[in-house]
Subunit: 116 residues, 2 copies
Amino acid sequence: MTAQNIQDDLSAPDTLELRAKLFRGLSDPSRLTILDALVSDERNVQEIVGHTGLGQPNVSNHLRCLLECGLVSRRSKGRFVRYRLADRRVADLIRNADQLLASTANGVDACQSYTD
Amino acid sequence: MTAQNIQDDLSAPDTLELRAKLFRGLSDPSRLTILDALVSDERNVQEIVGHTGLGQPNVSNHLRCLLECGLVSRRSKGRFVRYRLADRRVADLIRNADQLLASTANGVDACQSYTD
DNA sequence: CTAACGTATCAGTGGATAATGATATGACAG
DNA sequence: CTGTCATATCATTATCCACTGATACGTTAG
């Protein structure tokens, strides 16, 4: 499916699943921490491990998810692999969510479903 | 935690989890379908059931999640409970995601992690 | 009061997935 | 080559969670 087709048919079932998948990429605290680490700089995996305190295989796994979801991009540099946000809008999306949270914080704070 | 406190400390661990929880509310196709049903109109549960084809307990459960996450609001009207989007920005967030998808569609289309 | 209806909750089940330790792959240094 | 380092993958485990059918709760109609 091309980008144009998606724009033509934003409510198709496939599009719903793409949407869900995109948000799923953003729905994990570890992945959000990784994205935070990438907002300001391009970083390699070890730097992300150091910045986040997560295990290296865990980080690689999350990076794979983020990469395949189009939220980050990567380029090899010698033995290192440097990751960065795929698009300025990724950071925008997170900022927009934060603004929404700031307004509805009470409600979100009380969100308990499937959590305890 | 108040809205103001959240704005003061957007990178605290708790905030990361709130962010994740918000995105998780948006990360399920069923919930996105429900939100789609609410973009144009306020609806009661049965209408949503009819609109989405989901089971009634399933819809109620998702609505509880969406409600507690602050994405929708509810008001009783006789025996009925009418739901609507909590904020215009909820729809905006979905639109922003769609725009991002339109650009990075190839990558997202190929997103396979933890999916197959 | 009682039946019918709208909604919410409960218990059970299957599938998804985050985290970890071990291991494989690949690249560079010496 | 050979060892070392950076990254990725694998196997395992434990947890989470979406869905379903049964049921409870609450409200309105008759």
